[in-house]
């Protein structure tokens, strides 16, 4: 079953003009988020996944950043072509975002309820009382106990998990079509992580919101997403369904990521296998090598890899990969 697309990103290119030169943070990235789907974007720190998210929201700090090419179509409307005022009506309303730091993402001088109500009143023509009622209702939906009481409290009176729930409440207060979750659980305890992920999935199924989940945690991806985009050095290098990607990763980088996850079987078994790390480091985005950006760290690299950037090709049904050797490595 393939639902219709809600968010189509095509040829997105975001660069930063810095003292060290031109930094190509997002280079020709395309993907499609379908209605009601959870799409994960994975990659290590600095691979451009957060900048991709900010680019979708048109909130790349400028200067020095700028979106130089591409289109971001939300239900067919190109968000990169509309005015800033129109974009403000999209943010928090049609498309919302939650961040990594629940501890600092809420304004310390406003109550949680006020902050939710403010977003509601920003996008909906409702009375203060109705907005407040909506705030309490949202806190109840994100499973915060005694929501009417909690709404009157300040962020410092809530725990980290509670604050992230409150952030989710703000993000979903206007029933957005798309929710971008940028490392939503990274800063939380493992037990709280699981709770927040469960909550997000439940809310996502209740409301039918499509979720773009940005993470570096493949465990989170396996539990939540239907499809995965793998990014490396600002480019999309692989895209597949979760099952396909975990069963048969085609890019050597994805393969390396999989092997660097500890497995219970391997750890408890008689043969203690050493975890495989990927050698080397992500190249500086301001100074990328000419060919495939992963070539320097790749065991399969040869002259072809240094010569040119491999194109993204559909090597199996619905499984796209950008590697010169994808065909031979599987």
């Amino acid at each position: 079953m393939i639902a219709d697309p809600i968010l189509e990103v095509a040829g997105l290119r975001t660069v930063f003009f810095t003292a060290a030169g031109l930094v190509r943070a997002v280079e020709d990235v395309s993907f499609t988020l379908r209605r009601g789907e959870v799409l994960a974007v994975v990659g290590e720190s600095g691979c451009g996944k957060s900048i991709t998210a900010l680019s979708l929201m048109r909130l790349v700090p400028s200067p020095p950043g700028r979106i130089v090419a591409g289109s971001v179509k939300l239900e067919g409307r190109d968000l990169l072509a509309i005015s800033e005022a129109e974009m403000r009506a999209v943010r928090g309303n049609l498309m919302s975002m939650i961040f990594q730091e629940p501890m600092t993402s809420l304004n310390p001088v406003l109550t949680v309820g006020e902050q939710i109500a403010e977003t509601v009143r920003l996008h909906r023509d409702v009375s203060k009382a109705d907005a407040w009622a909506r705030a309490v209702e949202m806190l109840r939906r994100v499973r915060i106990p005694e929501p009417a009481q909690r709404a009157k409290e300040y962020p410092h009176q809530l725990s980290g998990g509670m604050r992230q729930r409150a952030m989710i409440a703000i993000a979903l207060a206007c029933d957005p079509k798309v929710l971008i979750a940028d490392e939503p659980t990274t800063a939380l305890d493992v037990t709280i992580q699981a709770q927040i992920l469960d909550l997000m999935l439940q809310l996502q199924q209740e409301s039918g919101t499509s979720v773009l989940l940005i993470t570096h945690d493949l465990g989170v991806v396996a539990e939540t997403a239907q499809r995965v985009v793998v990014m490396y050095a600002g480019r999309k290098i692989e895209e597949a369904s979760v099952e396909d990607l975990f069963a048969r990763p085609m890019h050597p980088y994805t393969h390396g990521l999989m092997r660097s996850i500890p497995h219970l079987a391997a750890m408890s078994g008689a043969v203690a296998e050493r975890l495989q790390e990927i050698p080397g480091m992500v190249p500086a985005l301001s100074n990328l090598p000419g060919g495939c950006a992963f070539a320097a760290r790749c065991g399969h690299a040869d002259a072809a890899c240094a010569a040119g950037v491999p194109p993204l090709e559909e090597r199996r049904p619905d499984h796209y990969v950008a590697c010169w050797h994808a065909g031979t490595l599987v």
């Binding site: 909130l59 501890m103 600092t104 809420l106 403010e118 410092h156 952030m167």
Partner: protein, 309 residues
């Protein structure tokens, strides 16, 4: 990328610091009265400052009720009376009651200092917020103007402005307010710069808020604590500057009872023969400035823990 800059852990709200202070004082009290008592006990000097200022404020408000002689009415037969009896603080060369003039002088002193500090803070906040939030060339130009203002001592700038505008209550307020702008503008600007990178500001942008709304509703309230600390400190210098301007004949014109003018009228001639003409206004000025300084120090400790020495 911007993520690392943002993780600076901003979030000292007033409620937060207030609560922490209370806990440190061993409080589990919920009643506001009990909270106040605990705060007063933890900061005895601040409490003393607050007490002094309260006395002056009450005196200024109820000046008519606590005096029995017109501060402006001259009375030649009773000139240069020694303190005691009918004239608690004595009388001046024109027979005016010093006690009444001190009490009514508190009105002038408070009106000018509060007015100047408020005006200076409001303008400073506007300048600082715009400067910090807009940044770029605007920020650069505004900060150079602030540099120029700050290069001149408070009194000198107030003196020049006051001389240019002419002596009157309003002009004195303006003359003292203008040199106060740079300090609050600087404080607000630096706070705004730090807050602009805060995660909750990015969150506000993500929710579709306009720059205006973010600046006014989300950044400004977070700068209130340092602003209160600064304003209290400025209150003291405003009192002193008003007294100095009046002493030099540029502040509040006669016959209004200004402490500074009372000093200047009597300092040279009557210092030896009638020292109460000098002692009481001088003491009033010192006491009020002392009170604001004590209160200001306590407020700084309570609201701005980062500056604690």
């Amino acid at each position: 990328m911007p993520r690392s800059i943002r993780a600076s852990g901003w979030g000292h709200s007033m409620a937060e610091t207030y609560g922490r202070e209370l806990r440190r004082a061993g409080a589990d009290a919920n009643s506001p009265v009990r909270r106040l008592v605990l705060l007063l006990r933890r900061y005895p000097l601040g409490a003393a400052g607050a007490f002094i200022l309260t006395v002056f404020v009450l005196a200024a408000i109820f000046a008519d009720a606590i005096t029995w002689l017109d501060p402006l009415r001259t009375n030649a037969p009773e000139k240069l009376m020694v303190p005691g009896g009918k004239h608690w603080f004595g009388s001046d060369v024109m027979g005016r009651d010093i006690y009444s003039r001190i009490v009514f002088g508190a009105r002038i002193s408070l009106a000018v200092s509060l007015g100047a500090t408020t005006l200076g803070s409001v303008l400073g906040v506007a300048v600082g917020l715009a400067s910090g939030y807009l940044g770029g060339t605007f920020d650069l130009c505004v900060q150079r103007v602030m540099d120029v203002l700050q290069a001149l001592p408070l009194l000198v700038l107030a003196l020049v402005t006051s001389a240019a505008l002419g002596p009157s209550l309003t002009n004195t307020v303006i003359a003292i307010a203008i040199p106060m702008i740079p300090a609050s503008a600087r404080v607000i600007r630096s706070n705004t710069l730090a807050l602009r990178e805060a995660a909750f500001i990015e969150a506000a942008q993500v929710q579709g808020m306009s720059e205006w709304r973010i600046a006014i509703r989300h950044i400004l309230p977070n700068t209130v604590a340092p602003l209160i600390v600064l304003a209290t400190a400025q209150l003291g210098s405003a009192i002193l500057t008003e007294a100095s301007l009046s002493f030099l004949g540029l502040g509040i014109p006669e016959p209004a009872p200004s402490w500074g003018r009372m000093l200047s009228e009597s300092a040279a001639e009557y210092m030896r023969t009638a020292p109460w003409l000098v002692i009481f206004p001088g003491a009033a000025i010192s006491l009020m400035v002392f009170g604001t300084n004590l209160l200001g120090d306590a407020l700084r400790d309570i609201l701005d823990p980062r500056q604690r020495g």
